[in-house]
């Protein structure tokens, strides 16, 4: 499972200043990495999910997710922002410093990988995981943190 989240899936010093920019960046990146084909469709799926209720969590994390038939493989993208994003509504009112984005293919394909995405979400509940992600400056390290977390 080492290949599920690689260092290419992690981006640091993301210049996005608003939620909209952050989501656009994630959709663009998903296409660059070959996870999805249609950038517009992925962005719309992200926005549709935010419209149902914010994905901003606590302690500066958000967990945007998109489910679309434009997505071929289940994937996780991690990004840390150069400046915290203030307009991303969160459960504790704190600005968002990092996002863990989940990309979900439509239909029943890839059940196994979908379960992995759920494990990534659960990781966010762990304080030590959150602290390490926020302090780390190495994409490799963050990728391996996520991989290690979903293995057990």
């Amino acid at each position: 499972m080492e290949s599920f989240v690689r260092k290419e899936h992690v981006s640091l010093e993301n210049p996005a200043a608003t939620t909209a920019e952050a989501l656009a960046f994630l959709a663009h990146r998903a296409v660059e990495l070959g996870v999805a084909q249609d950038e517009d469709a992925v962005l719309k799926a992200f926005q549709a999910r935010e419209a149902l209720g914010t994905t901003g969590m606590t302690e500066g994390f958000s967990i945007p997710h998109a489910k679309s038939d434009a997505i071929q493989d289940a994937a996780v993208l991690v990004t840390k922002y150069a400046e915290p994003i203030a307009d991303w509504e969160s459960l504790d009112g704190k600005p968002i410093k990092a996002s863990i984005a989940l990309l979900v293919p439509d239909g029943e394909a890839g059940t196994t990988h979908i379960k992995l995405l759920s494990k990534v979400a659960v990781l966010l509940m762990r304080e030590d995981f959150r602290t390490k992600v926020l302090t780390s400056t190495s994409p490799e390290e963050i990728a391996s943190l996520v991989c290690a977390g979903i293995e057990d």
Partner: protein
């Protein structure tokens, strides 16, 4: 295993929040030294599903969901229900558990939860009989509304006359015809629903596909050539009735369980392919073949019974003939045995009517067949009226609806009662129908109409005697059925089952 807390979580996408809320609840419960089981309604379906026994045993219920998690199951338990975003930290989850434990229960426990055996809560192993009954009941409870909807619409259409659906008949009425066709589709779905939800109870969602298909085959039958046992493209099938539906449902459910074992060795990344391709394809093929194998014998049974009844009809022994008609009509309600009696009755009646004979054996046998078909629903009505408290609410209401269905010759209303307890309800029905049929023959009743129940009374010879014979059967059967339900009620700690 029983738990202090049971919980259900769910969110629209079913990927992140559902499982984060679960994690928060588990951590919070652990901190408090409580045991917990969390059912998740996620993208891949329902996982860690709560059983009725677990719900019954739990001290409190927490729901954290933004989608339907069938909360009606939890009625009558101390409960708190919030959106999933209110349960995403350990502190929030701990507060929810406290609130749930302190909450006052609202409403009454659902029947299923109240009746869940404690044994199931304390040991994982349920008795085979109970497991089979549980699967059967899942099918029956899903079927019941179809019987009511389809049966009553059909019955109402008869108010315009029993031939009102037939555009070549003087009684034809477009509205009545519409009611009858819509109602007929509802009734035709009964057996497929029964089979599908028996299979669903056994094998969860993958069971539905082979279950529905087995049920459709059971209601329509497969056209087979008796000599070869293979499909005869120009033939018509003989349905197997609800008994075939029950067999097909169990076959479908266990077939999927078997396939799950067989395919367990396949690599995990083929899981998606299994659910959407391998299970439906393989299970349908296997169950279809099995149903095909039963089809040949079904045709033979049907033909043999018609020959048998035709032979009896030549003789002069009214009692023997009446018992045969009664037992056949009440045996499988729409299956090959029932159809043999009904088809024989209508054929002999048709020959009499065509020849202008009004008091021949054909119309007498038709009257006996109709009496035998009218009795079973009325048996449930009598039993329900004299023993209301021995029936669950749903069943009691079905008893009352069966009055309408019985009076209009719609025997199918009885199927849920028989399917639930083939023994002893089927023999009770066979006895009651026999009383009705024998009475009808002995009292010299003649019926020149093939269907319609009491709505055809104006054209029946000796109509009062006919009604009396039917009532005699209904009362005897009603008392026996009530006694059986009373026994069940007492066995279950004075609670209706």
């Amino acid at each position: 295993m029983s738990y202090d807390i049971v919980a259900a979580t769910g969110c629209p996408t079913g990927i992140a929040h559902t499982f984060m809320a679960k994690e928060a609840l588990i951590q919070a419960a652990k901190e408090k030294g409580l045991t917990i089981k969390v059912e998740t309604h996620g993208q891949v379906g329902v996982e860690d599903e709560l059983s009725a026994a677990e719900i019954r045993a739990a001290k409190a219920v927490v729901i954290a969901a933004d989608k339907d998690v069938q909360a009606e199951r939890f009625a009558g338990k101390p409960m708190v229900s919030v959106g999933v975003s209110k349960c995403l930290s350990q502190e929030a989850a701990a507060a929810l558990i406290d609130r749930a434990l302190a909450a006052k229960p609202q409403g009454e426990l659902s029947d299923e939860v109240a009746n869940a055996s404690d044994a199931a809560g304390t040991s994982e192993k349920e008795s085979v009989g109970h497991v089979i009954y549980k699967h059967l009941m899942n099918g029956v409870s899903h079927m019941l509304p179809f019987v009511v909807a389809g049966g009553v619409l059909t019955a109402v259409s008869f108010l315009w006359g029993i031939f009102s659906f037939d555009s070549t008949n003087a009684q034809y009425n477009t509205f009545a015809a519409m009611l009858k066709y819509i109602g007929g589709i509802g009734m035709n779905l009964m057996v497929p629903i029964l089979a599908a939800y028996i299979a669903e109870s056994i094998a969860k969602r993958p069971g539905l596909v082979p279950g529905f298909i087995a049920g459709m085959i059971a209601i329509q039958g497969l056209p087979v050539l008796a000599e070869t046992g293979m499909i005869d493209p120009s033939g018509t099938g003989t349905g197997f009735g609800f008994l075939g539906g029950i067999v097909g449902g169990f076959l479908a459910g266990y077939c999927v369980l078997l396939l799950e074992k067989v395919f367990a060795k396949l690599p995990e990344n083929l899981n998606g392919l299994k659910a959407i391709f391998l299970y439906p394809l393989c299970s349908t093929f296997i169950v279809g073949l099995a149903m095909l194998a039963i089809s040949g014998p079904m045709v033979s049974i049907n033909e043999a019974m018609m020959g048998f009844l035709g032979g009896l009809a030549q003789g002069n022994n009214a009692i023997l003939l009446g018992i045969a008609i009664g037992c056949m009509c009440a045996f499988d309600m729409g299956g090959p045995v029932n159809k043999a009696a009904y088809v024989t009755g209508t054929a002999l009646m048709g020959a009499d009517v065509a020849a202008g004979i009004t008091d021949g054996s054909g119309t007498a046998i038709m009257a006996a067949v109709s009496a035998a078909c009218i009795v079973p629903p009325l048996v449930t009505t009598v039993a329900g009226v004299i023993g209301k408290k021995y029936f669950t609410n749903d069943d009691y209401n079905a008893c009352l609806v069966n009055f309408i269905l019985g009076c209009t010759h719609i025997t199918e209303g009885t199927i849920p009662f028989v399917a639930k307890n083939i023994w002893p309800v089927m023999p009770i029905m066979m006895l009651s129908s026999s009383i009705g049929a024998v009475g009808s023959l002995l009292l010299g009743v003649h019926d020149p109409a093939p269907h319609g129940g009491f709505l055809v009374l104006p054209v029946v010879t000796n109509p009062i005697q006919w009604v009396l014979a039917i009532l005699a059967g209904a009362v005897v059967g009603g008392i026996l059925l009530m006694l059986f339900k009373k026994h069940e009620y007492e066995k279950n700690g004075n609670k209706a089952v």
